[in-house]
């Protein structure tokens, strides 16, 4: 591509970037200004909660990767509906509704979603939605249980919804490498790794 053509394409993109960056800059500062107050503590504890469990992290990234493999409409349907289903699971956790096998569900989600990636499984969208949705309930439940104890529950909720969403986005961004053949292999390897960790944790829990 010639330099002038590149510049022509870059200008609207740069303008859009500037818009997004300024919006983020305006919004980001208040929450972090006073990290020791309740708001900051609540947000940080919520944001880090999904990151404390390797099975959480891997499963969320796997949802993103599998979404790109499933193509449309899953690639946008999953990120849009997942937080909502997760919040339902979270609501169950907040209310203290007993959910049998909470942690097992989370480990199993990593194992099974990793397997889906390895196999490049493309079930009908309804089946995929049910699989991902049921795992979303387990993940949301695990976070929701901690919500009432948080210093500032609203900030905690924002934190973990944001962290989970960003992990998805990471997964989707990783999934995009499948346009290259070596990317396809790399994704399979990642899926195998995710599944292996999930199985390992699952065995540890069942014992």
């Amino acid at each position: 591509m010639t330099l002038s053509a590149l510049k022509r394409r870059a200008r609207p993109f740069a303008a859009r970037c500037a818009w997004v960056v300024s919006a983020l800059a305006l919004v980001a500062s208040p929450a972090f200004a006073h990290p020791n107050s309740g708001l900051g503590v609540g947000f940080v504890s919520g944001f880090t909660h999904p990151l404390t469990g390797i099975d959480h992290i891997l499963a969320m990234v796997a949802v993103g990767i599998w979404g790109t493999q499933l193509r449309k409409p899953a690639i946008w349907l999953l990120p849009v509906t997942f937080p909502l289903v997760m919040s339902f699971g979270g609501a169950l956790g907040v209310r203290g509704v007993p959910l049998p096998g909470g942690e097992i569900g989370v480990a199993a989600s990593a194992a099974i979603l990793g397997l889906m990636i390895v196999l490049s499984a493309r079930p009908p969208i309804a089946v995929a939605a049910v699989i991902v949705g049921s795992f979303a309930i387990f993940h949301g439940y695990a976070h929701g249980v901690e919500l009432p104890k948080a210093a500032y529950p609203l900030a905690y909720g924002v934190g973990f919804v944001l962290a989970t969403g960003l992990l998805h986005v990471t997964g989707i961004a990783l999934g995009l490498i499948e346009r290259w053949p070596i990317g396809v292999k790399a994704l399979r390897g990642m899926g195998a790794g995710i599944s292996a960790v999930g199985v390992y944790l699952l065995l540890g829990l069942i014992r």
Binding site: W76, P79, V80, L84, G90, L147, L154, G165
Partner: protein, 169 residues
């Protein structure tokens, strides 16, 4: 907030409270997803709603139902944004006005006696105008489909937060 002028206190108050900021962002995104006429009407209806609400709120402490409505609005507006639902203009304007009033009441009731309402409330209205305008502008300006999906995801996040905190109460 000591040391800050009353006007700036009005501007900052809704921006520093997540339970007010998130519904406003959701409203802005929803307005951006509507047709131009609805978006402009929603934008125009919001600051007056805020003004009326804040004026009402400054006389009496906010009833607890207002807090519920603000949380519920996070869930409802977030869901509408996620679904990219097109609303009849009347419904859109009604939503905008009612939300303006409830957020206004929530903010206005926190006016201390030292803060001048005449400076606080215009600041509040301006902040509301900016947030909604930013939301509309972002949705309109950022055309690529994946970014439009990104806004729907944002709506989904806002709804998720609203549902979670509602479950807590």
């Amino acid at each position: 907030m000591p040391g800050v002028g009353d006007f700036y206190a009005g501007v900052l108050h809704p921006l520093t409270a997540i339970e007010c900021l998130l519904p406003m962002i959701a409203l802005g995104l929803l307005a951006g997803q509507q047709v131009r006429r609805s978006a402009i009407l929603m934008l125009a209806a919001f600051p007056p709603g805020l003004t009326v609400g804040a004026a009402l709120g400054s006389f009496a402490p906010a009833p607890t139902v207002v807090g519920w409505i603000n949380l519920g609005s996070m869930a409802v507006l977030g869901l509408l944004v996620a679904a990219r639902r097109s609303l009849p203009p009347i419904v859109a304007v009604a939503l905008s006005t009612v939300l303006g009033i409830t957020i206004g009441v929530a903010n206005g009731s926190e006016l201390g006696s030292q803060v001048s309402a005449y400076r606080f409330i215009p600041g509040l209205a301006l902040a509301g105008l900016f947030v909604v305008a930013y939301g509309i502008g972002s949705v309109r300006a950022l055309r690529p489909p994946w970014l439009q999906i990104g806004f729907r995801v944002l709506g989904s996040w806002i709804a998720a937060v609203g549902i979670l905190v509602l479950a807590l109460k």
